[in-house]
Symmetry: C2
Subunit: 363 residues, 2 copies
């Protein structure tokens, strides 16, 4: 497979995905996202004590799977290329979803490429501006409801069952199936699964998908071990950890502000089968990780994405020398510039005079 001629994940993992005809593929060249070795983060999180010389096998290796570099800047594109391709294959003319933002951006983009109509139901006032700008630019009909995500999703299910409109929320199994390709990519780069795979848990589709991908690939004997899956929910939106639906989920990490995850049971299965865990991280821990990733690794992710790294920091005692950890960063930081500006220091404004500029620079 040549990197140069890459043309999307359905083409790349054709034999592993249930598409009937290549002519139906709707792609924006999603997938094939960077897996970046994060040495600066390792030093920051684990200190130098656990680390031997530069490239020793005894070092902990932490990789960031930067899925914010998908076409609409979130991992949702992996499932959406599948869901919209299948919608086309089945003759559908429209798609609909409920969304806190990333799903709507992705659904709208792929529908536009395919020439389908897109309807997006969003909870009022609970969506980052960047994401909303995408759905509208791609021509989706965006309908805000005076309610939360779970109410939006209920409406979408109802409409898709009674009208010839394809639901592209992650209840649509093609979404889950498309997302499993991220696990394939990790293994293809590392040559094996990592020891641990950490990721944010909101609607719980992604942890389900990764586990599906790892186990399917593993069953073929391509590689040795299976990873332990580490899922992290925001403390104010942690139904799986708490074992009960959260009526009014609250967290700064809007992309995982979900009170009743669609893939709840399967996320628990991924946790239990892999010998992993699902735990909480606080908004403060999320924001600390969010800043650390940007400052130390030069990678800007959205707040929800940082829950994976925040979780690794919280659980750092479980890792031992030589372990490989992959953290998925689910969305790009530009999805939510408001949060970034909110945590940033004030900028200086001075006259275009060299003395004043040098002083502002601290020189």
């Amino acid at each position: 497979m040549s990197g140069a001629k890459y043309s999307g994940l359905i083409d790349r993992y054709w034999e592993r995905l249930p598409v009937k005809n290549r002519k139906h593929i709707v792609t924006l060249h999603e997938g094939n996202t960077p897996l970046i070795l994060a040495k600066n983060l390792v030093k920051e999180i684990f200190g130098t004590k656990k680390q031997s010389s530069e490239d020793s096998d005894n070092n902990i290796r932490l990789y960031l799977k930067y899925d914010g570099l998908n076409p609409t800047c979130s991992f949702k594109d992996r499932g959406m290329t599948m869901a919209v391709t299948k919608a086309v294959e089945e003759g559908s003319k429209a798609v609909i979803c409920a969304s806190t933002g990333n799903t709507s951006a992705s659904a709208a983009a792929y529908a536009a490429k395919a020439g389908l109509s897109a309807y997006v139901i969003i909870p009022e006032g609970k969506i980052a501006m960047g994401k909303l700008s995408q759905a509208v630019m791609h021509g989706a009909k965006v309908i805000e409801i005076k309610g939360n995500f779970d109410e939006a999703l209920a409406l979408v299910r109802d409409i898709s069952e009674n009208y010839p409109i394809t639901m592209v929320n992650s209840l649509n199994e093609h979404r889950i199936v498309g997302q499993k390709t991220a696990a394939f990519e990790v293994v293809d780069v590392l040559g094996d699964a990592p020891d641990y795979h950490a990721l944010p848990v909101g609607n719980a589709g992604n942890i389900t998908s990764y586990w599906m991908g790892y186990t399917e690939y593993h069953a073929e004997g391509v590689f040795e071990k299976l990873p332990k899956m580490l899922g992290f929910q925001a403390e104010g939106a942690a139904p799986i950890v708490k074992g009960e639906i959260v009526k009014n989920p609250e967290t700064i990490a809007t992309a995982i502000r979900i009170g009743n995850p669609a893939s709840w049971k399967r996320a628990e299965l991924a946790r239990d089968e892999s010998g992993g865990l699902i735990d909480t991280v606080t908004d403060d821990e999320i924001l600390e990780a969010y800043r650390m990733i940007a400052l130390k690794e030069g990678i800007f992710c959205e707040p929800a994405s940082a829950a994976s790294v925040a979780g690794v920091i919280k659980k750092k005692e479980i890792f031992k020398p030589g372990d490989t950890i992959v953290c998925t960063l689910t969305g790009h930081g530009l999805k939510d510039p408001d949060t970034a500006i909110g945590v940033a220091p004030e900028t200086h404004s001075v006259s275009p005079d060299i003395e004043q500029v040098l002083e502002a620079m601290g020189l």
Copy 2:
């Protein structure tokens, strides 16, 4: 070269870039961006008259080089991986740039990865919010001056000449050299150069870089033809077209709001040597193309990027059946969500009631 193991453009085009030691490479896995066939746009721009059956050689082929999918969401990362790698190689501890946004985001990110300090001088009030959020998140010291880009650049030159701080504006030749890799990638995918390569022209570094890349690659006999370079400036910021410095450049396409381009002469050379042209497009034409790309191709770019497609629309009579055109989209639309929201229709807000939602959907 395996797509799976891609690790940045210096590694990929190692023998063509002047880096001494692989250990110095500072990368966020930039480059290797999608080249997407835009059949819907072709239909929209050229109609069906010029088009024969689906895949005939007589069709015009328009590709979008989506450089908004670089790590900081603009093409600037191509030059910045080189500029910061060379700064590290030369023992520098800090970088500085003047920027209308994208350069600052990229400089800050790569400096963070490398552990260098970054200083960013920006013209007051002339920068899209997304971009500013990036520079501050990556820990750059951002200094706004009460002046325009050209004044900011003059200050940066002055400071870099008198302090041990590396200037990473495109006056830094390593930037231009890194950016030429985009031309290599186009040829590697198409197997030849396109007939035409269209792109926005602001500081004129990118048209210079592409032409450098195409001519270097061509000199090795890897492929047959050289493309005609088509550059497009915003009408209110068109010094090259008008043949004189523009004191107060104005355009909605902030990324190309430049009155005195650093690579002015070399852009003219690229135009003349290739038999191409540099022309203007109006803000209205830019916005029309911006919307069309998002609506028809599912690709969200920043306004400046759309100048390439706007130019192709303006000059559509010059293309003939069978021509291949590549348009570079220099930055992701999330760089500037305000403009997107500004051109979007109002969203509907209704009660979470199925009848009301169906009515809002127009069903």
